[in-house]
Amino acid sequence: MAKYGMVIDLHKCTGCGACGLGCKTENNTDDRADGQTYNWADYHHSATGTFPNVNYQTLPVLCNHCTDAPCVSACPVTPKAMHKNAKGMTIHNEERCIGCRACQSACPYSSMDIERDNAQYSVISFNDFGKVIHAAYQDNTEIIKGCTTSGAEIAKKGGATPPHATKYDHPDYNSVRGDGVVEKCILCDHRIENGMQPYCTDVCPSTARIAGDLDNPNSDAAKLLKQYGGRRLKNNKGEFLAANEKGVGPNVYYIRNYSMRK
């Protein structure tokens, strides 16, 4: 079976934010609210040492599409809403999701509430029951009455909510999610299935992200792993698994170092 994942070359990464922003434009994720980020691609930043010997690191993060995905095990519905597909990707089926958040709770890379948990990011976010999706574009208020537009008006004139929504179709998930469901990175399966790269990979100006089948030795991702060796995250605190640790089998690997300074 294929095992799709990603290799992120920290030597190439400049921490610019293009992957995170590009993902927002592709997957039409909402603005942060109530401890949920809705940032499917996000960052963990850390600095160690004291001035002037400071070592800074940006870790671009996303769903690890784990082999032993706890989010899948935890999903209580049948068939599972959170499931592995034939390419080994962890896919979320919005239709079957009951919004129980068992996946969010089980995922070592997620927090139920990043503010409460003081976490930098969460792979899984939750759209609460009754949440107004893209509320900013459903708001009718005008800051200068009759002179400036409103979120609702510009969404209407633009022709969608949000007006910049990239529309795509996938049997499991929608291009804009509804309320009462979780959501997370699906490795842009709607693109991979059509011969394209995940959008975060496509937009990375330094080509630091390489998605592919890690089990296929001929894939660019597998070749890079072979060349440099990789390390995988243990949790959403920026800690890595030890070389002999398997964890939950995350399939996002980090190669080389962010900084040239030791």
């Binding site: 030597h11 610019c16 293009a18 590009g22 001035f51 400036t148 910049h164 929504a165 300074r261």
Partner: protein, 850 residues
């Protein structure tokens, strides 16, 4: 208990067809429960088209493409044909979408109904028609001309396209005013002095990153700003891998975070380190003999403290290396500079040696350096590029390539007496005054002093301003000590603002004209360069305009010209009618046609096969292909021409370590004011006297506030997600704010070293009061090891009380979100360039727990 989705589905399934009716809109077309559908190949992305355009979110001016689905702009990428960015945008490009669909865009012309003007005074704007708006503006201009005070018209330019030659370049002149004021010197003009007063190039440099082996990034952060961001992001890793990168900056920039060396110098001591590196390179015999020449007998006489005879040195492509040594370098060794800059001597020596040994495949990439004495610091930095022969070399620093452009019809035949006479008046910004040399192009008063216009207006010196138009500018927010702008704009009797968003400056407008966005709603073009190539790149409508908005530099000019013609001043309209479509020869009959023809004319040389047939860069087959591809790339830069042909713009035609070019400019300025160069330097706050004024040298930091009362040096940093001050109302620019090292998502913070914070009893997240000689602001404290102790770094961009509901904390009551530190930075200048001071720790601040 609420009905869960699963129980809902189960319940619905029991009632068959009721399922679909009950589902929320936007569900997948196929029911996921259906086995066959679940295994079907996903259809993927809806059909759409990538349309060429240009991003002006920073000064890179990137060729881009916008993906349009069903008339909506949904994604952004680099133009796949661009050699400047290799098809990639930096993070800023993606924010374009939230700008287009900003919920607070101005959708109609407005007029003020509250005559009282002030920062927090509601103008009580009401919507009006374009007809009424343009009528009002035209009346104001006619009145000025009637009263023989046409020079009291002021045009202020913010972000602009290559069509700026119409509104900015000629409309004030046609009206009869000298006052076309560009924003340029508010953010970056000092750095151009570096290359100008050494090698005669007043512009931004380009770099051969593919072949570079040693890069010194000095007081800037190329992977986040400074004019070729995607290219720098793409190529930095190669230099990191195959060479060495050193970053010199008191705060840990993005480049510093990745670099081999981070040298966190004390603010504004750059000049000391630069000349110490030059000293080190010379005493160790590491200068470029090929470029600079050598001692007649090959014996190195550059020995610390010893004067060298000019006769002993046979100089080649440079002027005054020995003079420079004798005047400024002989005693300036790394041990002295290390003390001055608060860094290690060994690090200065290591970087200087590594840099020189990699030569000529090396470069100093320096940034704005908007310090009160910045001119001499950037001259010293650029002199290093000359000293090792990196300038104009493979793997080095180059001036870069241009791109084709054609001229507009001339105004001469359409100028009346008022125009000719009025436009000869002194410009409002006091450029060329004794205390404001502004020596762009080697000429006294050659450059703009944008931030000083507020002072001039308030002092009626040289005269008062009665009618002002501004476009895409927000000086009240972006200018240091913006309070002056609040007062000045309240004083100007009539102000029309052409903007897409209600900014701080718009508070003072009498008429507001809603603008299109350059990257998606109008015809224009842009020229820029990066990666050894120049380019001309198109801007075109990719979506239908959602509101009745118009392009500032073309369409609105036409609308104004029509009104002026009706009121007995047809000259401008007659000039605009000369803008004939190069394809059909047809004269424009309306604003839209004029807008299009102006772009076709400006880019004519790039796309017309009759004109581009001998061009060595891209040669589209006509206008249609140019628009489709969106770009014409120039051929690649040719290295070494300046080594061969000389530096045509310097006085000596050489690369000048002893700047005869600056000497001539300073003497010209002094002569104009019947005084001495030394006196000029005294009144402009420089320390140099005598010959020192003509060579790159160290000037100590000029600072507002004593060290005892204001112990911290304020560092004004920039965000990699700031779209030239106009992205503050986008939520996406806040959600990843921590991509600016040390900053915090969704917040505005001041970065303080933990050691300093401990001493002051300040904890992470505390609100602190930051006070300068001007005033105080409150902001959240961030404890950060990446900032030099004794310094405090605050990012520009937040602190808006206008712009919109995201940018302001409370728009209706003008309560800012975060803090705009321009309010506590005093109005000061690097007077030799006329640039606004904002760097080099020139603002001392006191920090206390709020």
């Amino acid at each position: 208990m609420r009905l869960t989705r699963r129980s809902f589905i189960q319940a619905s399934a029991a009632t068959g067809g009721a399922l679909l009716a009950g589902c929320a809109a936007g569900k997948p077309a196929t029911n996921a429960m259906d086995k066959a559908a679940a295994t079907a190949k996903p259809k993927g992305e809806d059909a759409g088209k990538w349309i060429a355009n240009t991003c002006q979110g920073c000064t890179t001016w990137c060729p881009i493409e916008i993906f349009v689905q069903n008339g909506r702009a949904v994604k952004v990428r680099g133009n796949q044909l661009s050699k400047a960015n290799s098809g990639y945008v930096c993070p800023r490009g993606h924010l374009i979408l939230q700008q287009i669909y900003d919920p607070d865009r101005i959708k109609t012309p407005m007029k003020r109904t509250n005559p009282q003007k002030g920062r927090n005074i509601d103008p009580k704007f009401v919507p009006i028609s374009w007809d009424e708006a343009m009528d009002t503006v035209a009346d104001q201009i006619i009145e000025l001309r009637k009263n023989n005070e046409s020079h009291k018209f002021l045009l202020m330019r913010g972000r602009y396209s290559d069509q700026n030659g119409i509104l900015y370049g000629n409309i004030p002149k046609m009206i009869g005013s000298p006052n076309n004021i560009s924003h340029s010197s508010i953010c970056a003009e000092v750095e151009k002095m570096g290359a100008y007063y050494t090698e005669g190039y007043f512009g931004y440099r380009d770099y051969d990153l593919d072949n570079m082996k040693y890069l010194i990034v000095w007081a800037c952060d190329p992977i986040s700003s400074n004019r070729q961001v995607p290219n720098a992001i793409r190529k930095l890793n190669k230099i990191l891998e195959n060479g060495t990168v050193a970053a010199i900056d008191p705060r840990m920039s993005n480049t510093a975070a990745k670099a081999h060396e981070w040298m966190p110098i004390t603010p504004a001591t750059d000049g000391a380190v630069a000349i110490a590196m030059a000293h080190h390179i010379l005493v160790n015999g590491l200068w470029s003999k090929e470029f600079c020449g050598d001692f007649n007998d090959g014996r190195n006489r550059f020995i610390k403290g010893q004067t060298v005879s000019e006769n002993d040195f046979n100089e080649k492509n440079t002027n005054g290396l020995v003079k420079w040594w004798n005047i400024a370098l002989k005693d300036a060794d790394p041990s002295w500079a290390a003390k001055e800059a608060g860094v290690e001597q060994a690090q200065i020596e290591r970087i200087a040696t590594g840099f020189a040994k990699a030569a000529p495949n090396c470069g100093v990439w320096y940034g704005p350096n908007m310090q009160p004495r910045g001119t001499y610091a950037v001259m010293a930095m650029h002199a290093l590029n000359g000293l090792v022969g990196a300038t104009d070399s493979v793997g080095g620093v180059i001036t870069g390539m241009g791109a084709p452009s054609s001229g507009y019809p001339k105004i001469d035949a359409h100028q009346d007496e008022i125009s000719k006479k009025g436009s000869k008046n002194t410009k409002i910004d006091q450029r060329g005054y004794l205390n404001m040399p502004a020596l762009k192009g080697g000429k006294s008063g050659g450059g703009v002093v944008a931030n000083n216009v507020a002072n001039a207006i308030l002092a009626n010196d040289p005269y008062d301003i009665k009618v002002a138009i501004g476009y895409f500018n927000n000086f009240n927010f972006s200018g240091t000590e913006g309070q002056r702008w609040d007062k000045a704009m309240a004083k100007v009797p009539f102000f029309a603002h052409i903007v897409p968003m209600f900014s701080e400056m718009t508070y003072f407008a009498d008429i507001v004209l809603p603008s299109t966005l350059h990257h998606s709603e109008q015809w224009s073009s842009v020229r820029s360069k990066a990666n050894l190539h120049g380019h001309v790149s198109i801007q075109q409508p990719v979506i239908d305009r959602m509101f009745d908005v118009h392009a500032p530099e073309t369409e609105i000019v036409w609308m104004l010209a029509e009104k002026l013609a009706l009121k007995g001043f047809p000259n401008i309209l007659n000039w605009l009618k000369d803008f004939k479509d190069p394809e059909t020869g047809k004269a424009p009959t309306n604003a839209a046609e004029f807008g299009l023809y102006a772009v076709k004319i400006r880019t004519h040389k790039a796309w017309d096969p009759a004109l581009n047939k001998d061009y060595k860069g891209d040669r589209p087959s006509g206008w249609k292909e140019f628009v489709e591809k969106g770009i014409v790339n120039s051929p690649k830069y040719e290295f070494g021409k300046k080594w061969k042909d000389g530096f045509s713009k310097t006085v000596t035609k050489k690369f000048e370590f002893y700047s005869e070019t600056l000497k001539k400019a300073l003497e010209g300025h002094a002569e104009k004011h019947k005084t001495t160069v030394d006196n000029v330097l005294t009144v402009t706050n420089y320390e140099a006297r005598g010959e020192l004024a003509f060579v790159p040298h160290y000037e100590t930091p000029k600072r507002h506030g004593s060290r005892s009362a204001y112990p911290f040096d304020l560092i004004d940093m920039k965000s990699r997600h700031n779209r030239e001050g106009r992205s503050a109302n986008t939520t996406w620019s806040y959600t990843f704010k921590s991509c600016d090292p040390g900053d915090v998502n969704e917040q505005d913070v001041i970065q303080i070293n933990p050691a300093d914070a401990r001493r002051l009893g300040i904890n992470e997240g505390d609100m602190v009061k930051v006070t300068s000689v001007l005033s105080s602001l409150k902001v959240r404290a961030r404890l950060w090891e990446g900032v030099r102790p004794g310094c405090a770094a605050k990012c520009f961009g937040q602190g808006h009380h206008a712009m919109g509901r995201v940018a302001a904390k409370d728009f209706a009551n003008a309560v800012p979100r975060g803090a705009n530190f321009n309010e506590i930075m005093p109005d000061d200048y690097d007077r030799l360039s006329g640039s606004t001071a904002r760097n080099g720790g020139f603002t001392g601040v006191r920090i206390e727990k709020a």
